[in-house]
């Protein structure tokens, strides 16, 4: 079922009205309600795990893992810490925008949580355009917010309509002060042309990579490295922009990239098929997968498992996979080689996961890079960003606050 422009306008209008009640509460009150809503949402998602699995195409254990790891990051403490970072005490006060519109993609169903919770925490009501493929989780979120507090419940609403419906898109954004868009670059560009760059919070195309230095492959570290990498690759079936597509592996006389890839297959990805099984591959993705795997086999090394494929290729001949647990191991001699390969990815590179011994070096190089705006995190946590982790090179509250002369704020 889809909504028409009149319905969308009505909901937007109601949200603008609800914003006043939301802002009348203190940040501390909102943090308590939101923490309660997150816990409630976790419970309802657990009860509806099969429904979510059917809607998202992820396996039941994967849905359970995704909701747990996303919602467990949302508690009163993390919310208050985030609010403090977003609104530090300073001369010029910041006020929440009047309303945020969010356009969700269908690939990572929990992606909506951070957008919605952070906006509400800061006092901005949220109108969510849900993906037509996945309506269940936004609806559960709305119910959980309503149960936690009427002020929260009335400050978030959902709409759905066919992508590209110009009239509905106009109705969605015309009263929003900012529009957060997840999706393809085409989707982002279409929305940018409608709202202008200043009001757009763009989350377009992106990829992520991992870096494993030599010490991460040592006898003592290898198991941990492989376990972390496998989780990063398998989470959300490698459908999102934080999923590593490439794993740069520092090779040596003792450890070849092929050896590492075989270990990743046998000790990491194969066992994952039991603990966090992959969902069914849509036929259209399967067609791309067959091409990608075949080319990898012809041009290099391919390790094929029941639910995964690992290509070993040089940095000069990388070919992006369609996701769904098809990953490329790229041998490099030094971290310089890895960054030479990453630099052309520019702003499309979202996250670099790194082993503990390499992460400070990776972080420093990302900080120095003029081309890259990715953030870094330890291997094993690429798919579980903290509530306050940056997004697309900006703080998660980017665009949700605007300067005001003497905005009344209660804390």
């Amino acid at each position: 079922m889809t909504d028409d422009p009149a319905v969308i306008r009505g909901r937007a209008s109601a949200l603008l009205g609800a914003g006043r009640a939301l802002r009348a509460a203190s940040t501390a009150e909102r943090a308590v309600w939101l923490a309660q809503a997150a816990a409630d949402l976790r419970r309802s998602a657990r009860q509806a795990v099969q429904e979510l699995s059917d809607a998202t195409g992820l396996s039941v254990p994967m849905v359970d893992w995704a909701t747990r790891t996303t919602l467990d990051t949302i508690d009163e403490r993390s919310l208050l810490d985030l609010a403090t970072k977003a609104c530090p005490r300073r001369e010029q006060a910041l006020a929440p925008i009047s309303m945020l519109a969010v356009v969700l993609a269908g690939n990572v169903f929990t992606a909506s949580a951070r957008s919605i919770f952070v906006a509400l925490l800061l006092g901005a009501p949220v109108l969510v355009k849900a993906s037509s493929k996945e309506l269940a989780f936004p609806a559960m979120t709305k119910d959980a917010l309503r149960a936690a507090s009427p002020a929260l419940g009335t400050a978030m609403d959902t709409v759905t309509f066919r992508g590209g419906d110009v009239d509905c898109e106009a109705a969605l954004v015309e009263r929003a002060e900012a529009v957060s868009v997840y999706g393809s670059d085409d989707t982002v560009a279409a929305m940018a042309s409608r709202v202008g760059p200043d009001s757009l919070i763009a989350h377009g195309h992106g990829v992520s990579v991992a870096y494993c230095g030599a010490s991460a492959q040592s006898e003592s570290q290898r198991s941990e490295t492989i376990a972390g990498l496998s989780l990063d690759i398998c989470a959300y079936d490698q459908r999102g922009c934080l999923s590593p597509q490439l794993v740069f592996v520092e090779t040596s006389a003792k450890q070849s990239a092929e050896d590492f890839a075989f270990q990743l297959a046998e000790q990491g990805l194969a066992p994952m098929d039991r603990t966090l099984p992959r969902g069914p591959v849509p036929t259209s993705v399967g067609a791309e997968q067959a091409q990608w795997r075949g080319v990898a086999e012809v041009e290099g090394t391919l390790i094929r498992g029941r639910s995964y494929g690992i290509a070993v290729r040089s940095a000069e001949s990388i070919r992006w996979s369609p996701g769904y647990r098809n990953v490329t191991v790229v041998p490099v001699r030094t971290i310089d080689e890895a960054f030479d390969a990453m630099t052309p990815m520019g702003a499309s590179l979202k996250c670099v996961g790194a082993d503990p011994a390499s992460i400070s070096e990776v972080r420093a190089r990302l900080g120095e890079s003029l081309a890259l705006s990715a953030y870094s995190c330890p291997i094993g946590s690429m798919q579980t960003p903290a509530l306050d982790a940056p997004a697309d090179g900006f703080p998660i509250w980017h665009g949700l606050l605007s300067p005001q002369e003497a905005a009344p704020r209660r804390r």
Binding site: V108, G183, S243, G286, A287, Q291, V298
Partner: protein, 354 residues
């Protein structure tokens, strides 16, 4: 006799037997596919690297033709190289031929069976460039052969890189006046351009006239739903729907499939619109994960084992979605862009920045 020539003789024998109206035993075809694959795996290193399934020879993905030369012969022996459409080298498949005789044999036999079953020769109007203007196109090569084999006369309604609407109109009006049937042959996007350009001009072509359209749009015209285009073509030229058929071919293949409706209409045994697969070809929708045949009418990705691909690779894994319908197949289109990747990077975009 060399192994290659022995295999070539066997392929020719199957096609010629079919062309004479004799039955072709699928077991003979399958045996030939096995032998071809074994020989090709030895002579083409890229193909030899693919692991074969227990029961089936490995199928080479069509994408490999974009990145590697796939041929069992050295480049000096090429007599023709066909390229797929596209704007950059990495988008274009390359299929090198040492010998076009099998291609010709297969193309002629298939067209005679499905496109011209009721006529030896017919007036042709082609909505595509002449072979001389597009020597790298396998379609244009095939259409030029059709002009030689089946054409009483042939009008190429294409000039200076675009459809020549005046020449097209003239050829159609002449056929109308003479009351002789014609065959209109061209790409789907050319037919869309004709729809857009001909305006109110409509034609009442003689009974027996037919249309063969092929290929997708690839950004060369607005995309039109196939059902809508079928209806528009029928209305524009006065040709009944069964006589408007699709041809399915690809740069990586040497054989073509045709929709069944024209032949079945002539035979008085209409059936569902589907692609006929020549008996020297095995077309199988396969599961994308296991690459094993799917059951019944389940949608899979189309594997094509084309025995006329002698000097390249016979067993090809396409990216087309397809399903079986009765004794034929229906191709549901290319899978590209269908991936619900949300914020994941489109491959070519990222690599384009390198």
């Amino acid at each position: 006799m060399s192994r290659r020539n022995e295999l070539k003789s066997r392929i020719e024998a199957i096609i010629e037997r079919f062309d004479k109206g004799e039955q072709v035993d699928p077991a003979h075809r399958d045996e030939l596919i096995e032998d071809l694959a074994t020989w090709q795996a030895c002579g083409i290193p890229e193909y030899g690297r693919l692991q074969r399934d227990d029961d089936w020879p490995a199928a080479l993905p069509t994408d490999v033709f974009r990145f590697r030369r796939i041929a069992a012969h050295p480049v000096e022996e090429d007599v023709r190289v066909f390229l797929s459409s596209g704007t950059t080298s990495s988008e274009r498949s390359v299929h090198a031929y040492r010998d076009l005789s099998l291609y010709d044999l297969a193309a002629r036999a298939a067209a005679r069976r499905m496109l011209f079953p009721d006529v030896g020769e017919i007036r042709l109007v082609v909505l595509a460039p002449h072979e001389g203007d597009a020597p790298e196109s396998s379609l244009e090569y095939m259409l030029a052969r059709f002009a030689q084999w089946f054409g009483t006369e042939c009008t190429w309604a294409w000039r200076h890189g675009q459809l020549d609407l005046d020449r097209l109109t003239d050829a159609l009006r002449r056929a109308e006046s003479a009351g002789v049937p014609i065959a209109l042959l061209g790409t789907s996007f050319a037919f869309v351009h004709a729809e857009d350009g001909l305006g109110p001009r409509r034609f009442a072509l003689a009974p027996g006239s037919r249309v063969m359209q092929t290929g997708g749009y690839k950004g060369r015209s607005r995309a039109v739903d196939p059902e809508v285009l079928l209806e528009a073509i029928g209305h524009r030229y006065g040709i009944p729907a069964p006589f408007i058929i699709n041809e399915f071919g690809a740069t990586e293949l040497s054989s073509q499939f045709y929709e069944t409706t024209l032949r079945e209409c002539i035979e008085g045994q209409p059936g569902p619109r589907r692609l006929w697969v020549p008996p020297w070809v095995r077309a199988t929708p396969v599961d994308p994960d296991t690459l094993r045949p799917v059951a019944g009418e389940t949608v899979g990705i189309l594997r094509i084992d084309d025995t006329a691909n002698l000097d390249s690779v016979c067993c090809i894994q396409t990216a087309d979605l397809a399903k079986r319908v009765e004794d034929g197949i229906v191709v549901l289109g290319r899978a590209h862009g269908a991936t619900p990747r949300g914020c994941s990077l489109a491959a070519d975009q990222a690599m384009g920045a390198r």
